[in-house]
Symmetry: C2
């Protein structure tokens, strides 16, 4: 890594892989240290994943919830940002291997400290053939794709001369009743009822059918039972069919099969589970049964005190249970590891073990209804929704994101309009047209 | 067309193809008539094409310059919006043939009046093989693709260990020195100089090379010579190499060949020309040598008084010269034809022939510099830029677009930040990763 030609090559090198909550928090803690810091991400932006469902349903634009990493770290002159794809790690030789751009041959970047904050991807539990028919929601590109599908469903229904004969067009099946599934189901229901209701002529958008299917006996399994029940009641009131304790037998181009019954649907979305990045494989170290890297009390990897794993891709045990894959864990671990490395570079003694400070959980269902549990307090309704909005605005990385998101929310609530509802597809040549 | 079940089938049917400036203007004029109006577009939005270059360079988001057609016409209850692709017209039987959605078989929609406002597409003048290497800028998807390429060029340069050895990465070749080419060249130069300059470590973004290549002896050929010269001088001051009177011999994956010389470039963009939609072919009527439908003084097609062609795809002669392919022509023709049809449906006499009211031309070069000519007045500089901004804001179709675009412009000018600069690409599996 050569951050710039003025930096002596003798400075210690810190490579952080992943520009999500964990990686960005670690990078920011290294602002003042005399080191060459490199932040590597596949994309050029940090994205606030918990709000992707709002991009998928036309409430927010991608620009509201994403920030160019280069801009966020632009003034941090000891840090270089690389839009690169990591393909492996040589933990013995302390090399991080990336794709490279020009020759096609991989490039090895030497490090003194390595932080892997590489997150998770969709988990189809061995049924990867479902992926094209049941996309998930992890990136801005995913959210754009989902938005095309959701809005396209209504458009296609208007195109048919007989919408009633084609229930598959307006049946939405959301597999997974965790926070993302619940939030997506609620947002689609509101999109139809509040925004689209008056804009179609051949059918009523409120005639849509939304199935929320979860294998757990309750919705929002990480939350207290009473909040799961409140969320379920609210969703049902909004017209969502909530099928808990139910597994999907099959997903294909025609829809889903549940309990032997075929449910025709062109709109199946997958929020049922995640699997970690291949960090454990890269490092050749022990993983838990989900595939996450087992880390020590300081988030380092056993046998490699200079390698750290944080966030969703790390298995950090607390009272025998791994910490959940949520943003606050990633942020706190990233910050801890960033400070630890900064301290070590300054010759300070090792800090106390990482300790997660759990501020609670929240999930939103409608414009005026959310559930939250925090410090023993449980709330379902408008108060929880206001707390949700406040906390989520805080989490956005740039002040300009915060301002524009708050403003957009206000606009959507007041006007019920969702103007970020563009279907953006590459143009095709007209079928009837011959090239000149 | 069945706009809704309450509309008697006996009402006259008006089909408008294309939701650009012309089609939308026609549709809005038909608001009050007792008719079934159908507006058909391939996309679900109207887009303000003259500002696409700002989306391609991260100044604006797609949402700033696009508006869902369904929302724009939502309250116009006699009108149905269809996201459909027209594949032909049967002018004898008065049928508009669309792709259809469910069966794969085309669907024929009967009309009493037909308005074709189907615009233009890129013209590679017989070299369609250039298209993948030299994309154009006609749709939001095009603008997103260009933004990925432009920003990706800087990202790839930072990824190489030796940027100087790879001039092709940071060489931008813009083919076509009309308004779009000039505006794109200026916006890329400012992106590098104002926004990106401090954010890279291995190279200076201002070391980029921008070539603007035009076959005409001057830039902005439709403008007065003095304004073309002023635009050229300003571009050159901004570091753009302006090659007028120059043709590109070849475009391929390695770059371009100009006057026998190979110029390596990964970033070739095509703004050199347009060709009309296949409307003349659909109708089986006479076209001018560019392929545009020759229309009569009321914008109707000879032999088909119920068929009208407006905007870029029509050849309307004035003093022996066709009107230019610009937004004001499309808007004025669309409005004229909408009123004409509304009048005919009400039994009013035929209006006077269409007359284009030319308010002038403008093109922008930098944040503080534009050129304009209007009612004999010619200006180059800040005044023209302010006029440009004012006029372009006016043209945006929704008040909310106007407000948010004005606000965003102010933000970009004050902060030099372009936060709408996301590279949005579908995720690929990690090359080193095996599927579980």
């Amino acid at each position: 890594m050569k951050p710039d030609s003025n930096t002596p090559d003798s400075l210690p090198r810190v490579i952080i892989v992943g520009g999500g909550f964990g990686g960005l928090a670690a990078a920011r803690e290294l602002k003042e240290v005399r080191a060459q810091v490199g932040l590597i991400d596949k994309t050029n932006h940090h994205v606030f994943q918990p709000l992707l469902y709002q991009v998928a349903t036309g409430i927010l634009s991608p620009e509201h919830i994403a920030a160019p990493l280069r801009h966020v770290l632009g003034k941090q002159t000891n840090t270089i940002v690389l839009k690169e794809t990591v393909i492996g790690v040589d933990a013995e030789k302390k090399l991080c291997v990336v794709e490279g751009v020009m020759t096609g041959a991989p490039v090895s970047l030497p490090y003194d400290y390595l932080v892997l904050a590489t997150g998770v991807q969709n988990n189809y539990f061995g049924n990867d053939e479902y992926a094209p028919f049941a996309p998930g929601l992890k990136t801005i590109a995913d959210a754009d794709g989902l938005r095309n599908r959701i809005l396209g469903a209504f458009e296609n229904c208007e195109r048919t001369l007989d919408p009633k004969a084609h229930p598959e067009l307006l049946t939405f099946v959301i597999v997974g009743a965790g926070p993302t599934g619940v939030e997506l189901a609620g947002a689609i229901a509101e999109l139809a009822r509040l925004t689209l209701a008056s804009e179609f002529r051949r059918f009523s958008p409120t005639s849509l059918r939304i199935l929320l299917v979860g294998s757990d006996p309750r919705v929002l399994p990480p939350f207290h039972e009473s909040l799961g029940a409140a969320a379920k009641a609210k969703l049902e009131k909004m017209g969502v069919e909530v099928w808990t304790g139910t597994r999907v037998d099959k997903v294909d181009a025609e829809g889903v099969i549940i309990k032997g019954e075929r449910i025709p649907s062109r709109n199946v979305f997958w929020t049922a589970g995640v699997k970690p990045s291949p960090a454990a494989k890269w490092l050749g170290v022990e993983a838990d049964k989900g595939g996450r890297v087992k880390v020590l009390a300081d988030c380092s990897v056993p046998g490699h005190p200079e390698v750290f794993v944080v966030g969703d891709t790390a298995a950090f045990e607390k009272n025998g249970k791994p910490l959940p894959g949520v943003a606050p864990v990633a942020i706190q671990q990233g910050r801890y590891v960033g400070r630890l490395i900064a301290g070590r570079l300054r010759g300070k003694p090792a800090p106390r073990p990482f300790k997660y400070f759990d501020k609670g959980n929240m999930a939103t269902i409608s414009q005026g209804f959310a559930v939250m549990e925090s410090f023993g307090m449980r709330k379902a309704g408008l108060f929880a929704k206001l707390a949700w909005a406040f906390v989520h605005i805080q989490f956005l990385v740039l002040p300009s994101n915060r301002f524009s998101t708050a403003f957009q929310w206000l606009r959507v609530i007041l006007t019920h309009q969702r103007l970020a509802r563009l279907i953006i597809e590459p143009d095709r040549p007209n079928p009837g047209e011959t090239q000149p």
